[in-house]
Symmetry: C3
């Protein structure tokens, strides 16, 4: 996060919607917010018809009064532009602003996020409301920043209104210039899909068997991302054209959106909404499930957008809508733990969602800090304590850097192409989670890095280890970059399905793994999808046996110095290579012909000798270790995700920042407890 915040320590805050409550409650609410030690109040992101109750008529009284009261208690206010929920008068009069399903069913007033990004009418109305609001608040010193819209691409990340079809047609025209170019990129010669006029082109429409041209689908997602970013950009431009004293961001992290580009090109910093209790369903029955710790993965991803960030919605109670997303109550200690989780991963500002549980609407079960009854409860007590702690230690961590020398590579082309491709797409998610789990449970801090065609070696070179699980799409440019990375001393590992596609999603006419064949020194002799039809083959990797899942590639070493580190133990390719390792200059390239799981990732981490801080700590798997550095000093955050106490060892003397005691040797963390240590 850049210096837009003008803070010197981590600040907390809360989301508060004055329009939901009797005005006579406001002042006591702001007073208690202040009393909690909170500085920031976020508001107004769904309040369009408060600001513009009638088309073209603008009113600011309600929020002016609320902001005035916030000012009285020295609070800072963040205002959301209200474009996520158009007024009833707008959509009723101009239904063409609404989003539509692929099958043609229009989404109507009654929930949220039912508009489309490409309607000219919607853009016109959005511009005007944003302009009016920014003009009104540009000189209000209590208002420190703007959140654009709310949770872009949440709930629905596909769009098929007429405006979207029209805009897509223009988008492909810009991209390909000629129909020949488009026909080539989409491989339309297959199944006679050749386009002979631009007007024949649409976003994917219903087809028999729900199968669509896969190359068109990939472009469709690029287009959706571009549409969303352009909508945010449009608002940011208005704000910046009027004021340079208020920062600009947006919040959330949702599909079909290049958050890296949006953060870099449009935002002052990124804001995330963190709800670790979405882990409510036992989604992971494998060894050592991540549960709420999966949010450390999400937060690491957020960190990759642009460094430190804000949390605009930090879970403050059980969440849920009336008819979906039923979450249990966070246990005592979890709200505090999750606050530290956000901070450990790079949050420099944390706002809880929300001050008080709503008494009406679809989110009456999305609990705030306060209950409906507004009486004391254990969540208030816990967050009051948390706030006091953060005030004590905040400036030591504020603006510090998350330290890691390993990274998991991700990229949008594979993510979006893989969504529709059952022959590799889900392997990406599986392996990413398996690797993150292995890093976590071995206390090896890890970053996520989004690799692009423009990326410099410098960005990668700071990591000792890169994991790039299943990049089916892999260009010559990327292969060249990764080769240079290994040559300068880096270690990289690839999984099955690497390198067989180009950026259109078409396959190369090359031996697998395509352009990185020379780096890893192997080709794929043959391969098979594993789909439950036959028993999954076993593999011996580094003298341990595992069952493979998902996919098997039989590897064929092509150069001398390829070391076979693992072989298949059955199927017709019994005895053939499954895992190889090759030294290239001072670096190393691994290739694994299958999908990773926790166990295979763990033994590979060991073989790669990843940095695990065993010289400083003996930790249990339930503890997450985050290492932050600021002004040359390391801070260690130890987070206990277990309900049970954990017994750990400190091999060096450190300062416990929470109680300012020196500590070393045996230490016990009670359930959900947190340690913040500073090296001495």
């Amino acid at each position: 996060m850049k210096d837009f915040l003008n803070e010197s320590t981590i600040q907390l805050g809360v989301c508060y919607y004055p329009e939901h409550w009797p005005e006579e409650m406001w002042e006591e609410d702001f007073r208690r917010i202040k009393d909690m030690g909170f500085l920031y109040v976020r508001m107004a992101e769904f309040a369009w018809s408060i600001f513009e109750p009638i088309e073209g008529t603008f009113e600011f009284d309600l929020f002016d009064r609320a902001i005035q009261l916030a000012k009285k208690y020295d609070l800072k206010v963040i205002i959301g532009t209200p474009t996520a929920t158009p007024p009833a008068w707008l959509t009723d009069k101009y239904p063409e602003v609404l989003n539509v399903s692929r099958e043609g069913v229009r989404y109507n007033h009654g929930s949220r996020r039912h508009y489309n990004y490409n309607s000219e009418i919607y853009r016109t109305f959005s511009k005007r409301i944003v302009l009016e609001m920014v003009e009104h608040y540009k000189s209000n010193s209590t208002v420190v920043g703007w959140q654009i819209d709310n949770e872009i691409n949440c709930e629905m990340n596909v769009f098929y209104s007429n405006a979207d079809h029209d805009s897509f047609r223009q988008w492909v025209k810009n991209k390909y210039q000629t129909l020949e170019g488009l026909n080539d990129a989409w491989g339309t010669v297959f199944w006679n899909q050749t386009y002979t006029d631009w007007k024949q082109i649409y976003l994917t429409r219903p087809t028999v068997t729900h199968s669509y041209n896969p190359h068109q689908l990939l472009d469709e997602k690029r287009f959706i991302s571009d549409s969303a970013i352009s909508f945010v950009q449009m608002q940011a431009n208005i704000i910046r054209s009027i004021t340079d004293k208020q920062w600009v961001t947006t919040n959330g992290m949702f599909g079909h959106l290049d958050n890296h580009r949006m953060t870099k090109e449009v935002l002052d910093f990124y804001a995330y909404d963190s709800y670790p209790n979405f882990n409510k369903v036992i989604e992971d029955k494998s060894m050592m499930p991540l549960h709420d710790r999966k949010w450390s993965m999400n937060l690491s991803t957020v960190r990759s957008f642009g460094g430190n960030f804000a949390i605009f919605e930090q879970q403050a109670g059980p969440g849920g809508w009336v008819n979906r997303l039923e979450q249990p109550t966070p246990r005592p200690g979890q709200l505090r733990l999750w606050t530290y989780q956000s901070i450990a991963h790079g949050a420099d500002l944390v706002l809880y969602f929300r001050w008080r549980t709503a008494t009406k609407g679809s989110e009456i079960y999305w609990h705030g800090i306060n209950d409906y009854h507004n009486l004391p409860n254990r969540r208030i007590t816990e967050l009051k304590q948390t706030s006091e702690e953060i005030h004590k230690i905040g400036n030591t961590i504020f603006h510090s850097e998350y330290i890691s020398d390993a990274a998991i590579l991700t990229d949008y082309p594979n993510e979006w192409d893989g969504e529709e491709d059952n022959w590799y797409g889900h392997f990406i998610k599986e392996s990413k989670e398996a690797w993150f789990k292995a890093f976590q449970y071995h206390h090896i801090p890890v970053d996520f890095v989004n690799i692009t065609q423009e990326m410099s070696l410098e960005t990668l070179a700071k990591y000792r280890i890169l994991v790039y699980p299943h990049p089916a799409i892999l260009t010559e440019t990327t292969a060249h970059l990764l080769t240079r990375y290994v040559e300068q001393g880096g270690t990289i590992i690839f999984g099955a399905r690497t390198g067989y596609k180009d950026l259109t999603g078409q396959t190369y006419m090359k031996a697998f793994p395509g352009y990185i064949k020379d780096l890893v020194g192997v080709t794929v002799e043959e391969y098979t999808l594993l789909n439950g039809w036959q028993e999954n083959p076993d593999v011996n990797l580094l003298n341990k046996q595992f069952k493979t899942t998902g996919f098997n590639e039989v590897l064929q070493p092509e150069v001398e110095n390829v070391e076979v580190m693992g072989t298949y133990l059955n199927a017709h390719y019994e005895g053939k290579p499954a895992l190889t390792k090759r030294s290239v200059s001072t670096g190393t390239a691994y290739y694994y012909g299958s999908v990773f799981n926790y166990q295979t990732a763990s033994i590979l981490l060991e073989d790669m000798e990843a940095t695990n801080y065993q010289h400083l700590f003996i930790l249990t798997p339930d503890i997450e270790l985050a290492v932050r550095k600021k002004d040359g000093v390391s801070i260690y955050l130890l987070l206990n995700y277990s309900y049970q106490s954990q017994h750990i060892q400190l091999k060096a003397e450190m300062e416990n920042l929470l109680d300012n005691q020196t500590c070393s040797g045996s230490i016990t963390l009670t359930g959900y407890d947190v340690l913040v240590l500073k090296e001495k």
Copy 2:
């Protein structure tokens, strides 16, 4: 049932559709119907295009001839108005009369119940056909009564045609008078749903994530119920304006319909269609599943509409449509058992569905008494015997009263709001069935009582015990009523989620359980939904241990005389109260912070000392006991739902009405057998 029937004993009958059969078969059919001992014949409910083959042209010949033959055999005829299935000519010419899905797909000719209640055109056509039919048959002494339409709200109980949207707009205008009132009731300030013009208002329309404004949805169901009742009322008014010699009813029991109000305001009595073989799927793998005995619950609900009732369709064989609802064949004895089940619960008239299995259409597997082949079969034999028995004992039971001093409370606001609310809705159904099961297996007769804002204490005071499982919506009025009920000596028990919502479905800003806090003497300290994410906590209730399900509320006694009867055994609220009991004047109020199951309901019944007739009988769980009283004399119906013989004890001498023998001591009921005893 009031005296409309003009009978002095329980009569039987059958549904017979002359238009389905060659006319030469009719007389023999009526002769054999008479020979079965049946008196009533129900017909014509789908015969619109027989009566009006061409728009505006009416013909009565076919049914006149059939009714004439029925008269010849001294049968009484019930005619159905045919509005459940409009003619092809009508819907083809006026497609606006058809119902439409929320997504806009129109339901067309080809099945049944595809019309909407609010089309002015459909109402006009319906009025005319009813008027013509009643005018034609008003003086026909063979025709004794009218069934309006058929199974209102069966198959489909939501309606989204334009007529429905328009009518709903008018309905909310009538209800709320001002947009401000509507916006308040629907909490539209949340997510910017505020309406600024009546024309913006619709029934719920498609939204992203299929989430709708929950308060609007609750009103939508009230509107559907009102629409259905008004359609029935319209027909009843026509009939009553023409004749006072023929009674008026309708049949079935389906969703989104306030049957209590309809019965009271519109009908002479209620008629139910009883198909205990819908238990075909093993829906209940818990301890002691209800299976066909669940229909005792349905029949008890029907009894709550307006006392004794008629059965217009009593199962007479396996049921099923061509492509759904596949039912096995009733076992020998079950058809007789189910007839007694209906009578035990309040049926004063029972018509079997149907005389002969249809040879065409969607219901060729909905078997009648006779098979396609019209030859003798075991069902005919069994029902002939049953008919003889009913003729023997019918007048002893006819118009008698079902005796119970316990009741389960239900209400429409919670039923309808709970349909969409995953945070309590399904608990109502679960707990209702658990309690009914506990009452059943302990031989404690129980009523259902529909509680309303207008209810008098008198109605409740006749019960010693009330069970009100999870009334999330609970007003101050209801709390006051229930408090007076307890004060005058009643016992009441509530379950989790009681009392946190008002009649709009919005939450109170009050400590739970809201307005009944003072009655039960506890508040809810905290709570959590149980959704499988963590192991469900155990509870110790009255010294027995159970696993809780669904929801946990941690109770906090607020007054002195609250007795803690159960505590949680684990989770972070280990040791805290789960069940409390409080004496109020001469009454008692229990509160249980979780969802009921068979076991918890059973031990609570014991603690409440419910009337279980152990002074008269020692029964096995498979036996249902029903107690009827007439002219001060008690009649006991004992029904064996098991395939196996049951050995029971009579502690007093009684008269077996079926064989007129005196009996006492050990008695064996064979599989599916029935005893009808009269106290001596």
Copy 3:
């Protein structure tokens, strides 16, 4: 297959799409195709916009050049008419040519088979493109035949465009002549569905509960079949009007299509697309699953259309679309095995699909013989060997006859009516597979025979045994035919639900099993569907005990000479007959009152003394035996479907055609190996 092929031996070939590849690759591809020993090349079936890039403008250059190169390597070319994929310009300008879902969602450009058969516009465009292509290639001696369209009714076999509704209206008018006739046939008197004007008639449209008039649905499928055949006929007529030197066929085997009639009336021979790897999902967890051997059943069905046939797409690698149908890689030996499987069952021409895996579009995972990289692989090697073998033995098998003296009867009315009828439809499929499995594992060659109202006794009389599992629809004509079949010495067996419906799908007013009651000598006393509600009853059949499934009919012998061969062991019909056998003249008629499974079929086969070739072979269950005869000489094909070696015995000396050695006694077939033996 008639003599259209003008071959004297089995030929192989491959599908090759020149438009998908750079022209500089073509010649090398054709050279290598020739080098594989292939003679036939199939092309062009999706190339409409290559031939007609602009409406009315035709171009043949690309394919002319490709065919010229094929000719250079003495290859024969099969051209597909391209009507399965209309050009974008066509559907964009005339969207009425597109198919539409029942709910009204139009299927658009972007996949394939999205047109409807009944659009006059589409027929006009189709006629023109076919005419132009045939005119162009009629004298090209390299072009030997035409494939019409591609995989008729694949992907989607229901059609609800306006053109289809209109055409259906005309179709029923032709069929019934009067509305009275239609109303009778569809049983519209039930639920007031009576039609009073032809314009009220549509194909089934959305109704509540997704239930439709079952008799209308049956006609709907007849109509779809007729529409498809008429579309193929239209193209065949054009081709035949222009040339008599090129044969006409189409390919695939899909639903709602009377392939028997189409083959007989329209085609020169039938072509099938055989993908045994569709067995990818373990769909059959019963004893001895069929897996890829199920394709022997499919091929036997194909053989019933018109004798020997062609394979136009023989699996050549793993198959799959991007988002569906994920298949594992065929194991070494399976491609060869499946080639022999096709030949064993009657293929006289086999084309592999496809030469090289596509690099673009939805089918990039439908692997060809060559991989994307075009380098050597094991599939090429295996098929090269296979090709050499076929060249060696091909003419011995070519045009030989598949020998069997047992047949399973099928028919379209029951298949189509049963699709929607849960009271018997799925029993047909279950029992058919159970019987086929029993025949297979006991090495008894079996045919499928499609029984029609016009069938002669002669066709049936050549079989000693007929199995007709659950013909609910069974006419007096058929009953008469089958009775004569038994009287002349045949053995027949029926299963439950036989004979209770007529050709409209309405039930007879007769005792079950209707018109065959006199043949089998039993009636059905009562029956029940088994749906899991109660434990399925056991049965004792020929002194072995089994659990029954699906349905139970209690049989009542009606004549003296009915032998009860099996009885129910529990339920209320314990001890009553379940299986009967009756001698009629020299023949025998069995009736089994339940659904068949592998075990019951196996013991019945034993009782019927089916021909099992035990005088020649002792085989393991994993071996399929096919017997071919030509010029009085028998050829035995033994196919090992197991991964493991099989040890078998030859009791006679035979010639191994693959190595020309004489063999007898103990022989071992390795995994997936094949033996082709000729009697000496």
